[in-house]
């Protein structure tokens, strides 16, 4: 049996959330939800794992901090010691306060850019890429659940019947 994709279209985020709860209670697995904005409380209902982007951001930040310190040590201390206002130019430690603002800024820069790029790569939404959302109106005023028959024990008709118990606007089935 081939995998069929069922799209259930809603026009309200709260209705979608309640409907998702209803069909998840009946044992249906929801593959994904497309919506114009994040829906509060939806993640645990459809079983999304907590994002690990915070950990990635921390690592990028630390990389930025190390890069900045290494760079400034090389430019200002090691390669060409610069005497600015008589500040100690023979060691990084003794001159550290001077370098803190730039280290901080560079850490933030790396964390922010790294986080944004990781996010876009992970979602495959780099600039210029074609959108992969099944319904363009999910960027405006529609909320869509994507359910695969392969993920579930129930067949297409059963899932449709369950969805019809909710305030669904339209159900659309796509064959692969």
């Amino acid at each position: 049996m081939s995998d069929k994709t069922i799209y259930a279209i809603y026009d309200d985020d709260y209705v979608l959330l309640e409907s998702a709860k209803h069909i998840v209670d009946k044992g249906i697995h929801i593959r994904d939800v497309f919506s114009p904005f994040p829906i509060h409380g939806l993640d645990p209902v459809i079983g999304l794992k907590r994002t690990r982007i915070a950990i990635a951001a921390f690592i990028y930040g630390m990389i930025g901090v190390s890069l900045a310190l290494t760079g400034m040590w090389f430019f200002m201390i090691h390669d060409w010691p610069m005497n600015i206002g008589g500040k100690p130019n023979f060691s990084l430690m003794n001159n550290l306060p001077t370098f803190v603002p730039i280290t901080f800024e560079f850490g933030v820069l790396c964390a922010a850019h790294g986080m944004a790029i990781t996010y876009m790569l992970r979602n495959w939404t780099l600039p210029g890429m074609k959108g992969r959302n099944p319904y363009p109106r999910t960027t405006d005023d529609r909320f869509v659940m994507e359910i695969h028959t392969h993920d579930n024990d129930m067949d297409e008709e059963g899932i449709k019947a369950l969805l019809n118990e909710t305030y669904v606007l339209e159900i659309d089935v796509k064959n692969p």
Partner: protein, 402 residues
């Protein structure tokens, strides 16, 4: 639900006071005596200021909650009200210290000494004389009494009206007190914006009378704010563990943790900015403050910064740590001591010079004040229900979730 102070809590505060007094006496009898009186007065100022400003910051936070129409904090509002309760005791301690300074019973404020402003005297100091327009006894007392009187007026008003609000019969209407409280909050914050800085100049910065820093007011302000958030975090954890405050959920705990984390960063930012600008420009009249601290108080001074910044920054950065008492409480307690040491190192170098340090007298005085402070706060907490009624945002706060 009404809170009652358990016998265990009473005993703990009593033990703190007894151990504190014992340590204080031990310190007095084993010390060599030259600077004893000065040391006691300096410590009274440290602890009076530290614990008074914690209460003051709670008042500020309540005013801020009203002004910003903050909803999440309504379930913990009584905790902040209870923390305000130490204000009168702290104020009395501070006033005693200042009165003693005025009467030359101690030498905390060099500008109050005889002859400093008199060109004929051998104590004459031209630089201090130049500041006479601001640093003179009558004006100092007008300012001090004004700050304390106005702050305590607002503290009493917010507490009284909150208790009155509980008794209202509203039948669905919005509490009339809420709008008034927002207005009072605006007035208080406008007043506090100036006086939080100027009180720090008058009471603390004037110790190092030749020195000045435009960031000093903010430095003290962020310090008192983070110490107060720590007290609130620990108190809420304590109440929850003892079965009170069922209404406070993990999102409230998370928000309190976020405040503690954020204000720790604010304090570190201001500490470092003040230090770096002075270090970089290296002007003799500014840099003396740091020279003194680096020569005689290096471990306490730099250690405090490391503890107060790196510990909360790295441990409390993750979301899970901010929601979990196992991380929150130990970090909070360590950083609380860190901020007390911070106030200690604001006061001691200018009053005890190279003879100051962290000894039995300092620890004893701290524990005594801590015991009294905890008991006062718990007693205030037991005098009213733990949850406010009729606050328009109460229901929204109950459903806080993120």
């Amino acid at each position: 639900m009404e809170f009652t102070i358990s016998n265990k809590a009473k005993l703990t505060t009593l033990i703190l006071v007894v151990v504190g007094l014992a340590s204080l006496l031990l310190g007095i009898f084993t010390s060599h005596g030259h600077h004893m009186s000065q040391q006691l007065w300096a410590n009274l100022l440290v602890n009076g200021y530290f614990f008074f400003t914690i209460s003051l910051a709670a008042l500020f936070f309540i005013a801020l909650q009203y002004v910003s129409e903050m909803a999440w904090g309504v379930t913990t509002q009584r905790v902040f009200q209870a923390i305000m309760a130490f204000m009168p005791i702290g104020a009395v301690v501070l006033l005693i210290v200042f009165a003693a300074s005025s009467m030359h019973w101690n030498h905390l404020y060099h500008w109050m000494a005889d002859g400093v402003m008199d060109p004929a005297s051998e104590n004459y100091d031209k630089l201090i004389h130049g500041k006479e327009g601001y640093l003179n006894q009558p004006f100092f007392w007008v300012r001090t009494l004004l700050y304390i009187a106005v702050w305590i007026y607002f503290a009493r008003w917010f507490r009284k009206k909150s208790l009155e609000e509980d008794k209202l019969e509203l039948n669905g209407a919005t509490s009339p007190i809420y709008g008034k409280a927002i207005f009072k909050g605006v007035l208080f914050i406008a007043f506090f914006a100036y006086t939080s800085s100027s009180s720090a100049w008058d009471w603390i910065m004037a110790i190092d009378v030749h020195w000045f820093s435009t960031m000093f007011g903010w430095y003290c302000f962020s310090g008192m704010w983070v110490s107060m958030m720590i007290v609130a975090v620990v108190l809420v954890q304590y109440l929850k563990r003892n079965g009170y405050m069922k209404e406070v959920n993990s999102s409230h705990i998370h928000d309190l943790g976020k405040w503690m984390f954020a204000i720790s960063c604010l304090w570190s930012y201001i500490w470092f900015s003040q230090f770096m600008l002075i270090w970089y420009s290296n002007i003799p009249e500014e840099v003396t403050y740091y020279v003194q601290r680096f020569e005689d108080y290096q471990l306490l001074y730099l250690g405090t910064f490391c503890v107060n910044f790196f510990l909360p920054f790295f441990v409390l950065m993750s979301r899970d740590a901010k929601r979990n008492g196992i991380f929150l409480v130990p970090i909070a307690l360590i950083v609380f001591i860190g901020h007390w040491v911070d106030v200690l190192v604001m006061v001691l170098p200018g009053t005890m010079f190279e003879h100051g340090g962290l000894g039995a007298i300092e620890i004893g005085m701290f524990l005594t004040f801590l015991g009294v402070f905890i008991y006062t706060v718990l007693r205030a907490l037991s005098k009213a229900p733990l949850m406010t009624k009729n606050h328009p945002m109460y229901d929204e706060s109950l459903h806080l979730h993120h």
